[in-house]
Symmetry: C3
Subunit: 461 residues, 3 copies
């Protein structure tokens, strides 16, 4: 079942103008080590099922034990083939979800499989994938090239040594794999390893961890190291977009007590919110584009968290308020043309109510594409419906796949391009603009806007 | 005007595959006494207009006095024919609302009336209905059979003696009318008769009302009595989905003070929230499916409430947060496969933001169908648009009509089936799946999902 | 590009039935002095670009300095032609926004310009407009007549002397330009000039500013003066719909301290909320329709506010709760048939969740049309989709253009009529009603509902 076969003629014309564009992937969670080592990927279950929280959360919701999928520190891991069979037996659960679309696309376009996944075909599909993975054409670098990827950003903790990125650069391979600076662990005093990681970072930069100034300097040094490794952006994953601007003595005092683990939750939020504004100010200086992913309540299932750790499918979006929480940050640097801030929301009510009005005013602000649960055909339609009339197209940041499922990258960009084509065809059908504008906007949403938003045109690999 | 005549060919094929399915009605507010006594229904105004808050609220909003509809303890009740005429004169107010669709469907399919209701036809339609109601074919049991109802759940206070249900069972009539356990009156210390009803319940079960343990035992006994009378589910109507888990001593202390009417509002909420978790735990034990209807602020018009009491059309939905309020309950029993929780919301923003992500993770959780103001064609379309991509179809609980308007039951299920057909046809039109999957999902949403969610397959009448 | 050329046949039939209806404009921000003096409008940039916050906010968001648009007290104002060229160079930013639709419509239908605005055509278009503005046909009164305006309401501070309105009345010109009573400045103790303006108002009415009773009397006197000048409505712009009803001594005490500037923010909100209820009570007495525009957080960009003042494009909508904040007011006067309250929201989630249920119950309440960011084709579609099923059509207040851009008035009403036609055609396509009902509802939404809601039928010019 191919979605593009169902497009109207108008939409198909737009889609065909962008279908084969290169893939610009400015935000995601692939492992740079894949491209450094260029080893073969593991078996089909370990590659496709086990790491994909879209898949195992749904299976879990309908009664599949995570252990049976090979998740958790089980001493007797299940046979990957059995995991794949179990997955195939429940494949009908995914009808109507983007996972169904993505995986069908991956099977067909990456592995050349035209069969529908079910109990009868599971073994044959498993074998086909397994055989492919053993060939040179399915090594990470070969797939990167075959997928037409122009640039792929990873997401890396502030303390990461970026060795994999350096190894890729030193290898002479022309692929562009760039890191993204993700400093939440050393900004949020409620983070599990805040004190340890801050001390390591500041000491590593030759500073005194007890000095707030040295802490800021160490952060600047890490940002510089990321930029030297090709980074063009930073990223923050925060529960609520809450920012502050404190006077220096107050910030330093909170820092000192934070290092001792002595902050109350409210104080920790204030410090973190202040540091987000500090990060924005550093972005003005060094040009790193700032990303805010806000609105997920993490690890809401304590039993699952205790047994399996974070990212196990129990993160639930929260009602989010972008204004006034973002105002302290915006009122420090939001009028500065050197600054770019890209906001991602899990609360779709903020598209029309807050983000589009804000992006249609603040010079710094761009709206990120539909994120996570909303990265889907209907989610994309709602996004365009609700942001464009107030923010226009030029205040959007294009697409990112935001995935750790490398095989699904072409599928995700394809669904976005289908969604773009359907939206623009609908606009044409209402007389909002004609085909020339539609194709121009489509090209921009496909690649141009992401390159521009993430400043990927000016820094080369 | 028949809605089904306007379906696309694709949608019509799906609709016709489910149009004549039996009616599974697992949640609603019909009076079991109707089926116990099997008396004729009252006149058309008393049957159709007076008990339907969808109708009289709209009439009231545009200037009709409730007294003129025969509502309230008026000493001189209006002539039913005049009530019906008054209603007919304002029938245009309902254009575009589901009431218009439901009542047209009822007129045509239940009473064989093809005329449009207006001032000129009011008397003729009244006479037609009045004449029909006098015939054996329009007695409650005959209509139940003619409507093709497979099971009909009523909603009954915890202290109900279930005499009507026993009478139906003893009568030998094969209709399946089952009760639903609705204990809010004995759980919420802010309820008007909490102390009285708790004392009655606990004493009636042979316990000491001053003992928290006896209170819990009495609740267990009532649940058992409901199960013995055929119940498969409980139901809660709560303003906000707020749950807690207290240590036993704390809960017992709140109970003791609650019995004395001595709890502050906040304390009462905590006790009620704790008892919701207790109810969930009892559901694990006894298998009653738990329903949560959350998000209505009740009786907001104090003048109307003082004169006419509750349920007079002044209940207004509230912004609702399902997460984190439900976490204490879910973290007690949400991973237990014996437990089913069905959540109904009046805040559509929670479909995509909270309920679909939660249902797509927690094994216990299913999303109830569009409820109350959202049980409508556009409401159904928004529901599918926002829940399916994240929760799939298998985390949905099918349909319930939730009505006290018995005559409208076929109409309400028909509108749902139209909405299902339109949604699935749209999915097919995008290439999401083909006709075989569409019809299979349609059959499930029409009857199968409700039977499964409410465990109606395993317990017979 | 004409939008109406893209309507379906069904929609076009509806649209053509209302396209040429007169324009009823019961709420907006045109300057009555235009019609009093009937001078020519200024140059194209000053007329079209500079006063339109929809335009300059978007330009600012993509890097255009407000000073370069002639905004702010610059000592060297830019040449209007250069402003227009700068605007033309950025015209592509507006693709997909209602501004694009409105301005294209204005160019074509007001000025006869068929060219697309861009760098190459900017001067020619500028010259065409400039030449037109010099002719008698483009004077304010002539345009009012050519636009087919039946009535145009301005918005005027409580202390306004209404001289322009009196001058229009005295001129013998038959145009109906009526004021609207906007008393927020003398109701909100947090307002910049509250004390000064209250003192002026009360003294001007012959009262003692230190007397709360005299304050109320002065407000009554101002309302009477507005009614005498033709006003049929009042208007409030509030951040949150929060109302109260205090006992008189408490209200008087807050008033006394408010005059001294001594109220804390929370106290000021309570006083303001109480005064909203007072205004509602005065509306019961004098018949002025009460409008509430709620939900904008004003002046969020402090740098812009400090340099340019208010209304500079940095007002951002807030999540809004209509219930329970409005209950104190509604419970005082909401059941009184003499009272009409029209509610406008910037939080679209309140359409289906709060405003439609409330309007479908309270006799006083009507829902205002999509406002500000939501006055757009997609915004109109969402509005109808979410309000009609619960509130019907008769609880809607028709349309208002709410603009200070006089030239855009025909365009805005035209977009509304297109949106109405599209919505009603969609309803017909589903079988909700037939063409006779559709055209009747369309006529009502085009003009009748606004006349009725604002009581414009009974008071003549």
């Amino acid at each position: 079942m191919s979605l593009s076969a169902h497009l109207s003629n108008t939409a198909r014309d737009i889609y065909e103008a962008i279908r084969d564009d290169p893939i610009v992937s400015p935000h995601g969670h692939c492992d740079p080590q894949w491209f450094a080592a260029n080893d073969r990927f593991a078996d089909p279950a370990t590659l496709i099922v086990k790491p994909d929280h879209y898949l195992f959360r749904m299976l879990y919701s309908r009664g599949v034990a995570l252990e049976d999928l090979g998740i958790g520190n089980s001493e007797n891991p299940p046979d990957p083939r059995n995991v794949f069979r179990l997955f195939a037996r429940h494949w009908h659960l995914f009808l109507g979800t983007p996972s169904h679309v993505w995986l069908n696309h991956t099977f067909r376009h990456v592995f050349g499989i035209d069969e529908t996944l079910n109990v009868a075909t599971a073994d044959r599909i498993y074998d086909t994938i397994e055989a492919a993975l053993g060939t040179p054409e399915f090594r990470p670098r070969a797939l990167y090239e075959r997928f037409g990827i122009e640039v792929l950003a990873t997401t890396d903790a502030a303390g990461d040594d970026l060795a994999a990125h350096r190894q890729i650069a030193a290898s002479g391979w022309p692929g562009r794999i760039i890191p993204t600076f993700r400093p939440d662990g050393v900004l949020d005093p409620m983070g599990a390893n805040f004190t340890r990681d801050v001390r390591t970072m500041v000491s590593g930069a030759g500073g005194d961890p007890n000095s707030f100034d040295d802490y800021l300097s160490a952060l600047r040094a890490r940002r510089a190291a990321f930029r030297a490794a090709g980074a063009t952006a930073s990223d923050h994953a925060i529960e609520a977009p809450e920012t502050y601007w404190l006077d220096p003595a107050k910030a330093a005092a909170l820092y000192a007590r934070g290092l001792e683990g002595a902050l109350a939750r409210d104080e920790a939020r204030v410090f973190y919110g202040h540091m987000l504004t500090e990060m924005a100010q550093m972005s003005v200086e060094d040009g790193l584009v700032m990303q805010l992913h806000a609105g997920a309540r993490r690890n809401t299932n304590s039993g699952i968290y205790d047994r399996f750790g974070p990212d196990m499918g129990a993160d639930i979006p929260l009602a989010t308020r972008w204004s006034p929480g973002l105002e302290p940050l915006l009122n420090r640097v939001g009028n500065d043309h050197r600054f770019t801030l890209i906001a991602f929301t899990l609360d779709e009510t903020t598209y029309a109510r807050e983000l589009a009005p804000m992006a249609g005013h603040w010079p710094c602000l761009l709206i990120g594409p539909p994120w996570w649960f909303h990265d889907s055909l209907a989610g994309i339609a709602r996004y365009f419906d609700q942001v464009v009339e107030t923010a226009g197209y030029q205040n959007l940041a294009g697409f990112n796949d935001d995935t750790r499922a490398f095989m699904s990258i072409p599928a995700r960009h394809d669904v976005w391009r289908l969604g773009v084509a359907e939206h623009l065809a609908r606009q044409m059908g209402r007389g909002i603009f004609g085909p020339a504008d539609a194709v121009r906007i489509a090209k921009d949403l496909s690649t141009g806007a992401a390159r521009r938003a993430y400043r990927l045109e000016t820094s080369g690999s």
